[in-house]
Symmetry: C2
Subunit: 249 residues, 2 copies
C-alpha cells in the first residue's frame, strides 16, 4: 500500500453466536463498510457473555487497533453486561447519560421507564452516544471503542450513524472474477501474478455452484489501476484454460 | 453444570471473511454440532492469511482449549498457507502424507497431479488425515488441532468425518421461546428466573420480524428437566404479559 490504512478490530459478544443458535451477519456488514472507508479490519473475535473475558478483550483490542467495534449485550436483560464491562475496561464508573435518558423517556412514554429500561441509558463515564434511529436506545463511543447493538438492523443503523466520524485511509478496492476451474489449475500462474503485484492482495476461493466446482479470484488494493490489471490478467488466464470466466461485480 | 464439558475454540482463517466479501457460515455449523456433542465452544477468532498471526493463534488456542478447529487456507494456491503455518506452530516439518498423495492421484487421474495439486497432500509431520468425501483433498488432525477446508460443504463433510473421534460431555440442551414483547418488559422477572437456576444459562435476544419487535429467550444446560422448567416459566410469564409466546423449536 502507498499509504497505510488505519486498522480495526471487531468484538462479537454473545453466547448465542458460539452456540450456533444465531448466525452472525454483523461482521460481514462491518467488514464491507470498513473496506469502503479505507479501514483495514485486522481481526474479529467472538466471545461469550463473561465479564472477565469481555474486559480483557476490550483492553487488548483498544490497545492494538485504531478502531474497535463491539456488537451485542447492550439491552436491558440480565445477560446484557457489555456496557458495564467496557466501563470496567476503562476504569471508569457506569453513569446514566442525560441525553440517553431523554431518548428513552420519549421512546417509552406510554409504557413507562422501568429500572430495566433505564439500564439502557447507562454508559461509561465520558462516553458519547451513537444514535439508534430504529429503537432509540443508543450505542456509545468511549475513546476508540464503539459499542453497538447485536440485532443486525440496529447494528447497521448505528454503524451508519457513526461512520462519518471515522478517519479512513485510501479506499480498499476489490474486484473479482469467477471461473469454472479447479483452484489447482490456476495455482501456479496465479502465484506468478501475485509476485508481480506486491501491493495487490490476491485471494483465490473455491466455490461449488450448480453442481460444478470453480474458483473465485479476488484482487484488493488501494490503487485501482493495479487491481484492474490483476483482474484482467486472471480473466485472460481463465479464458485460456477454458474456465468460462465471469466478473460477478 | 454437574459435569464439566470439554472446551473448544474455532480459528477462521481468511482475508475474505474480514473484508466482508464472504459471509462465514462454518462457525454456526460447528457451534451447533459441538453443542450436540456436549463440547463447549468458548471462543472463535477470525484472522487474515498472515503467517505469524496464524502460528501465534494456533499455539494460543491449542494450549487453551481441549479441541481446536481451523477453517480455510488448505487449498493449492499461493494464499493457502494454513498447513505450513500449523507445522511451524508445532515445530515440525511439512511432509507429503502418502495416503493423501494416493487420494489426490485418484482424484486427479485424468487432469494430472501438478506440483500445486500435490501441495494439498502436505501435512505437518505426525498428522493424521481427516476425510473429505466431497473433493478428496483431505484435512488433517495434529494433536488437538483439526484443520478443515473453508468451503462450507467441505468443512461440514470433514467435521462429520471427524466428529465420532471427539470425546464430548453431557449434551448441551437448548430450548427457546419467542414473544412479542420488548426485552425490557421481561427483564426483571427474567433476571429472577436466571438467579433461581444457576445451572441453566438464560439468554434474551431481541428480534424484529413482520414489523414487530420481540424477544427470544433461550435456556441452555445439561439437565433437560431444568431447561424445560425455565422455558415453561418464561412461556407463562410472556403469556401473562400479553406477548403471544411461541416455541420455535
Amino acid at each position: 500500500m502507498a499509504e497505510p490504512n488505519p486498522t480495526a478490530g471487531v468484538i462479537i459478544i454473545g453466547n448465542e453466536i458460539l452456540s450456533g443458535k444465531t448466525q452472525d451477519t454483523n461482521l460481514q456488514f462491518i467488514g464491507q463498510k470498513l473496506a469502503e472507508l479505507g479501514i483495514r479490519l485486522e481481526q474479529a473475535i467472538v466471545i461469550p457473555d463473561i465479564e472477565a473475558t469481555i474486559i480483557a478483550t476490550v483492553n487488548d483490542y483498544r490497545a492494538r487497533y485504531r478502531y474497535v467495534f463491539t456488537t451485542g449485550g447492550i439491552g436491558p436483560t440480565h445477560d446484557d453486561i457489555t456496557s458495564a464491562c467496557v466501563a470496567k475496561a476503562f476504569g471508569v464508573a457506569l453513569v446514566k447519560h442525560p441525553e440517553a435518558v431523554r431518548r428513552l423517556e420519549r421512546a417509552y412514554q406510554r409504557a413507562g421507564l422501568s429500572d430495566e429500561r433505564m439500564k439502557m441509558a447507562e454508559v461509561p463515564d465520558g462516553a458519547s452516544l451513537v444514535d439508534n434511529p430504529i429503537s432509540q436506545a443508543p450505542g456509545f463511543q468511549m475513546e476508540n471503542v464503539f459499542v453497538l447493538a447485536g440485532i443486525p438492523s440496529v447494528a447497521r443503523a448505528m454503524f451508519d450513524s457513526l461512520a462519518p466520524t471515522l478517519q479512513g485511509g485510501p479506499a480498499i478496492i476489490a474486484q473479482s472474477v469467477d471461473g469454472y476451474l479447479a483452484e489447482s489449475t490456476l495455482a501456479k500462474q496465479l502465484g506468478t501474478i501475485d509476485e508481480q503485484f506486491p501491493n495487490v492482495e490476491i485471494g483465490c476461493y473455491p466455490f461449488f455452484r450448480n453442481q460444478r466446482f470453480g474458483a473465485n479470484v479476488v484482487a484488493r488494493g488501494t490503487t485501482a489501476s493495479e487491481v484492474h490489471e490483476v483482474i484482467d490478467l486472471v480473466f485472460a488466464l481463465m479464458e485460456e484454460l477454458g474456465g468460462e470466466p465471469e466478473r460477478p461485480d
